[in-house]
């Protein structure tokens, strides 16, 4: 059984929490005591139905105000797959939350209210999903019960969205008409949508093919930790621990170590429980090399003829996540890229992107909370970077405020110079 991580995004009244509650409820992932607790709360509040949204609203303020404050993680499994849901709120700090929740997602569900059609929020959520290179996108057209399950409504939204999506980079797009409140096409096929020939949402989540989404070509192994037991038994053992970020590694492969550029061969690969014949993303392993080289945390092991850019100049799309400060030319920040920290200087804010119209504002002088822009950075030491499009690990970085230590920016590398 494999694992699918997916993110859900929607505006405040699109029924996102209800949908998640429905998925959990209909897949029998809700426990009786949880159900009893939300039934009591619903009853006390005078709700007409048991509000399944209460299952995902975790904090006191959220329950009291009926809103979702932060990314929440939910778990459920079917006999086919295990699922991790990152439930991201739509109303406040939408960009920051969605970027946080979706950075590791294999799939994103964007909810649309059938009565309202596409909104700024649906466009914005879709854009963020494409910016983060989430390989699979589902447009769940919800509240079909409120438009009499009318096929024309569904088709109109679908056509409009396809036109909009040509401007985005979405490799796999699926449309499903649902009613989260009543369960139509969520887990069970709806009798109200004879005209819809596709599968239910859960069926899609179970079947969507994700094995080819990871980069299996370009070997990238950021060294995380050096293991030297210094014990009598393992006196000469020297292993490089880390998580494979791309490609397939095998013993006897010729490899190069950056930044030194020295070449050697892989002697052995230790998995989490003994030696393994090969390693690929996202396995955590320990690599032993044939030759004694000076390798430390922050170095990167790759193939000799397939190396990342070694660069101190980064060009990236940056999402700014801080209320307290802005990104401007001249800003100095800490940057973490793979297993390496450095300092970064903002050389240029090339443009700020209006994520509703995709218009590029080249006169912008700063990025504030939830804004996204194209930025050039100069960093204090060489990073081993790939385009985010080819590798989500070696292509991403975070920016951290050096005074408050708060994470203030998320960067996706676009081209290296």
């Amino acid at each position: 059984m494999d694992l699918l991580r997916f993110a859900t995004a929607g505006s405040v009244d699109d029924g996102k929490s209800t949908l998640i509650g429905r998925l959990l409820y209909d897949s029998k992932s809700i426990f009786e005591d949880q159900l009893a607790s939300i039934e009591a709360t619903s009853h006390d509040r005078g709700d007409e139905h048991t509000d399944l949204a209460l299952l995902t609203d975790g904090l006191r303020a959220e329950r009291e105000q009926g809103i979702t404050i932060d990314v929440a993680h939910r778990y459920f499994a079917t006999p086919r797959r295990k699922f991790i849901i990152a439930d991201t709120p739509g109303h406040i700090q939408y960009t920051r939350n969605m970027v946080t929740g979706a950075s590791t997602a294999d799939l994103a569900i964007v909810l649309v209210d059938a009565r309202k059609g596409l909104t700024e929020q649906s466009r914005r959520h879709s854009f963020i999903a494409s910016l983060l290179r989430i390989p699979h996108l589902v447009l769940a057209i919800n509240k079909m019960d409120l438009v009499d399950f009318d096929q024309d409504v569904f088709e109109k939204i679908r056509r409009e969205y396809i036109e909009f999506a040509t401007r985005l980079d979405v490799p796999d797009l699926t449309f499903i008409p649902i009613s989260a409140l009543y369960g139509d096409n969520v887990v069970d096929r709806s009798a109200n949508t004879d005209w819809y020939k596709g599968g239910t949402l859960l069926h899609h989540l179970e079947e969507v093919y994700i094995a080819s989404d990871r980069n299996m070509v370009d070997v990238r192994f950021p060294v995380q930790y050096v293991i030297r037991p210094k014990s009598t038994e393992h006196h000469d053992f020297r292993g490089y621990a880390g998580t494979v970020a791309g490609g397939v590694m095998k013993p006897s492969d010729e490899v190069a170590v950056l930044p030194s550029g020295f070449t050697t061969r892989i002697k052995a690969i230790h998995g989490t429980n003994g030696e393994v014949a090969e390693a690929h993303s996202p396995m955590s392993v320990v690599i032993q090399l044939e030759d004694e080289l000076d390798v430390s945390r922050g170095d990167l092991i790759c193939r000799i003829n397939n190396q990342p850019q070694v660069t101190q100049d980064l060009e990236a799309m940056v999402c700014w996540m801080s209320e307290a400060s802005q990104l401007r030319e001249g800003s100095k920040l800490a940057v973490k890229h793979t297993t390496k920290w450095a300092r970064a200087l903002v050389k240029d804010l090339r443009y700020r992107l209006d994520i509703n119209t995709l218009h590029r504002d080249e006169s912008a002088t700063e990025l504030t909370l939830n804004e996204i822009g194209r930025v050039r950075l100069r960093v204090t030491q060489p990073l081993f970077a790939d385009d985010y499009q080819s590798n989500r690990t070696t292509g991403s970085f975070i920016l951290v405020d050096e005074t408050s230590n708060v994470t203030v920016g998320a960067g996706m590398i676009r081209a290296t110079e």
Partner: protein
């Protein structure tokens, strides 16, 4: 060629990455070890993360003094077998030193006192990162907590002011006096934990398996009769076949009736159960709907 990891291997790799990241970036990490299954799994992951070297940080037990004796024996055996360093911070010592005041009455518990003892121990040992076995599926407040959970100089969690956590780029920066709680198995469920225990052949204390013991019913839960917990007048003691789904302070951890006396049977039972582990067996979480949220803000695990 297999290109998809099974979900348990995927979770294992993620947890090991997190543990190594903390060992690499923090000065003085420690692993909170209660003898419960979740902290046993985290310890096992730490052993795997650094093999064949030893675990490069100590384990810390916050000892309420109200232990199941099997659990203490188990702890000491692990320490011996894996060459670990053990730090014990004792609630009894804190009470004796007048730093903590014991609750009284038949429903008293030392659960709440653990928080102060924990925070004092962190200060005393200057720990800057503490691994815990908390999982997001356990409870609503935990569902919203980051893997790297930042704590201010009072040890407090601020749910609204959490740092964004992106990709696998964990931000472990802190100022003196602040620290990080780190939860490597955040994304595991109770069933994942049990499956891993079986697959990796991890030893767990016997109280997790069905056994006969003297129990009495209180607030809909079976509580074990121990030196620290006696029934009230209207409560009757019975011998029943039970097992524990969680192991905490013996005074507030309930047992469930169960015939599951092997790992396979426990896994079948967990897969079929319709009640959460905390809902079933933890009096400390039943105090109010937001009980966990409030305790976490104060600095609880």
């Amino acid at each position: 060629m297999t290109t998809q990891l099974s979900h348990v291997s995927n979770l294992e790799s993620e947890a090991i990455f997190i543990i190594r990241e903390v060992a690499a970036e923090f000065e003085r990490p420690a692993l909170l070890f209660s003898g419960g299954k979740d902290s046993i799994v985290v310890l096992h992951l730490a052993i795997r993360a650094f093999a064949p070297a030893r675990v490069p940080f100590p384990i810390m037990h916050i000892d309420t003094g109200h232990n199941f004796s099997e659990v203490i024996e188990f702890r000491d055996r692990m320490v011996e077998r894996h060459g670990l360093r053990l730090v014990v911070a004792s609630v009894q010592d804190a009470i004796d030193a007048g730093k903590a005041v014991e609750e009284t009455g038949p429903r008293s518990s030392r659960n709440r006192l653990q928080t102060g003892v924990l925070l004092d121990a962190i200060e005393q040992h200057r720990f800057d990162a503490l691994f815990g076995g908390a999982r997001r599926d356990e409870e609503k407040a935990r569902a919203k907590e980051r893997v790297y959970s930042f704590r201010d100089e009072f040890g407090q969690w601020d749910p609204k002011g959490q740092r964004p956590e992106l990709w696998s780029l964990y931000n472990g920066r802190y100022k003196p006096g602040e620290h990080m709680r780190v939860f490597p198995i955040s994304n595991w469920t109770e069933l994942d934990v049990w499956n891993y225990i079986r697959d990796a052949e991890i030893e767990v204390p016997h109280v997790y398996m069905a056994h006969e013991r003297e129990v009495f019913m209180r607030d809909g839960m079976w509580l074990a009769v121990t030196d620290f917990l006696q029934p009230m007048e209207n409560e009757t003691v019975e011998r029943r076949t039970v097992r524990f789904r969680t192991i905490g302070d013996a005074t507030c951890t309930g047992a469930v009736e169960s015939a599951a006396d092997s790992l396979d049977k426990v896994i079948d039972e967990v897969a079929a159960t319709r009640i959460t582990e905390r809902g079933a067996t933890r009096a400390d979480d039943r105090t109010s709907e937001a009980a966990m949220e409030d305790r976490k803000k104060e600095g609880y695990f």
